[in-house]
Symmetry: C2
Subunit: 177 residues, 2 copies
């Protein structure tokens, strides 16, 4: 079955700092017409850093959309033209001070494909040295060093809820079981 | 460290069919002021259905934001006031025809907490009977019955990229290893 939807008219609703919103007119595969509301986002990168003693480096921060403190892997937005690998190295250093020697690419994930086009790239850092964190202005983070097994248990207990962090931890555990 | 951000003024930018967009004025923990752009979404539910022969039931559909066909667990949006469990049962039946006898709750996930407040609830269905699918108007899906191990391999190979599907498959595998 051909399910492809074709753009009839792009409608930019809002041009923002971290996202743009569109409401496009589309023609569906069955010939009918519809509208598609969605966010355009340049993408993000996250890094699961695991040291030789089996500790992972997570950051706790207030996430305004949920009005909650969340525990996540270090991550951030891709700058325009930036390579995911470079973004991952940069965000890890900015948020934790860790300077990665090498990163392993786990893949790209689609957070919520019904209404956002964000590509979210996930990496593992197994080898790094400790430098100085340098947060963006107004970026307030608590760095947490946690045993990998305890972090996994927090996934199983649904205490860690951020999708990229859940995926990174579960993929890492599957690779190293 | 207290990192809580307080709303100074809510600004509704756009009220849509599947999402609303806000750009709020907030005061940060360090006393400075900033803006927070984010999507309000009523939430979603997904169901990983696994039968006694070890097959999972996935749906393939065109996702306009990515302009790609994606393979995902059956899922859909929470209606206002609907319980996640009821939504999960309903969406599974609508998209696959499977009538669940019981669902196991895996938890709630936050797809991309920087800019959306969507809660995404994930369930497992181990016990169901086959009924008739009844898709929403213009909903075009291909049902795919795949061996669990093959679906997991598609996660490891980064062929399956949808976050809820990746999380459901990896959590299920971790529960049943």
């Amino acid at each position: 079955m051909n399910c492809v939807e074709k753009t009839k008219k792009e409608n930019l609703i809002y041009k923002g700092r971290i996202l743009d919103l569109y409401n496009d007119e589309v023609s569906l595969a069955d010939g009918s017409e519809s509208m598609r509301e969605y966010v355009r986002h340049n993408g993000g990168c996250g890094v699961l850093a695991v040291d030789g003693d089996g500790y992972v480096y997570l950051v706790e921060q207030f996430r305004y959309p949920y009005r909650e403190m969340l525990l996540e892997i270090p991550a951030g937005k891709l700058e325009v033209g930036e390579k995911p690998y470079d973004c991952a190295v940069r965000e890890l250093r900015e948020e934790t001070g860790l300077v990665a020697n090498d990163l392993i690419y786990l893949g790209v994930f689609y957070p919520s494909p019904g209404y956002t086009d964000e590509p979210l790239h996930i990496f593992i850092a197994n080898s790094f040295t400790q430098g100085e964190a340098c947060l963006d202005e107004h970026e307030l983070l608590n760095l947490k060093k946690i045993k990998l097994q305890d972090a996994l248990q927090m996934v199983y207990d649904n205490v860690i809820r951020d999708a990229k962090t859940v995926i990174a931890l579960l993929r890492y555990a599957a690779l190293n079981k």
